[in-house]
């Protein structure tokens, strides 16, 4: 995952960030990015991938959040910054500072970014995967897979709460892609994707 992620991130305008990629042991379907280049995918989402191109597309989406600093925009707009600075001004110890930051990060994850940030990250994900030599339709394929999950499936509850619905995202990315990718060939690398057993 780190090799694929780094290769995809290298195609962005921030190739030299200290990028880190990892898997969260949860059957939930979701993916997360944090400022500075930390990106995590849940095992449940990973299981929907049918090839390395799907992984690349999802990682490209998360790389998009990082390079466009979507989290920082939310932090600036919200009261989280106030809360954070007040806590720091109380000259708290190191661990408390870290815990404060984790609290803010978890709060953002729970609230979600704004819808336009998600649509923008989808467009970036498709392009970064394409630049990396992959098939462009990895991310749209994953969106379709997620869209198949029933709305009462707990595994997508947080994702559906914090992101536009897959149907809306597919419509937007379809419109944005148009016919630009019709003559663009890329690799799906289905056999190289590491399969994870239940």
């Amino acid at each position: 995952m780190n090799r694929v992620g780094r290769w995809v991130a290298t195609q962005s305008e921030r190739p030299d960030l200290p990028w880190h990629f990892g898997v969260i042991q949860s059957e939930d379907m979701n993916a997360f990015a944090a400022p500075g280049g930390y990106i995590f995918i849940t095992l449940g989402l990973y299981r929907t991938f049918q090839g390395e191109a799907d992984l690349a597309g999802v990682l490209g989406h998360e790389v998009g959040h990082v390079i466009r600093q979507h989290h920082l925009k939310i932090l600036q707009q919200s009261k989280l910054v106030d809360a954070g600075s007040k806590a720091l001004s109380k000259s708290v110890g190191g661990n408390d500072k870290v815990q404060q930051l984790i609290g803010s990060g978890a709060e953002i994850v729970a609230r979600g970014l704004d819808k336009d940030a998600e649509f923008e990250a989808d467009r970036i994900g498709v392009v970064l995967a394409t630049r990396a030599g992959y098939d462009a339709y990895g991310l749209p394929s994953v969106l379709q897979q997620i869209g198949h999950a029933a709305k009462d499936d707990n595994r997508v509850a947080l994702l559906f709460k914090t992101h536009p619905l897959p149907e809306d995202r597919l419509n937007k990315i379809d419109a944005a892609m148009g016919d630009r990718f019709d003559r663009v060939k890329g690799l799906t690398l289905e056999k190289r994707l590491l399969k994870v057993k239940k």
Partner: protein, 113 residues
Amino acid sequence: MRNRFSKQGGWFKVKAGKATGWVHMLSVRKGDAKKGADNASGLLALSSGRAGTGKVVATTGVRGLNEEELKAATFNEAELQRAEANASSKADAATFAKQGKLVARPFDYLPAK
């Protein structure tokens, strides 16, 4: 899609009786997932542009990440160190890409529609 259709890039290979053809994946949209619907209804749904019906058996009782769990998150140094240790260098990533015959190419970002 996995069992009933094969996929190549953005295209689904579909079969209806003896006929086969290709449908662009972004032309395929899902209907509401229903528990227990059979394959035939799924294929019917595809032909009407509403694919995916009946494919998924909803799994209730699987606990996902929820807000409370996220807000209760605590710092785990050991896990962070594991994440750091697994980082890949640009050179390492490029070698892996080459092994997979991936070739980087320019492509402009997409404008918002």
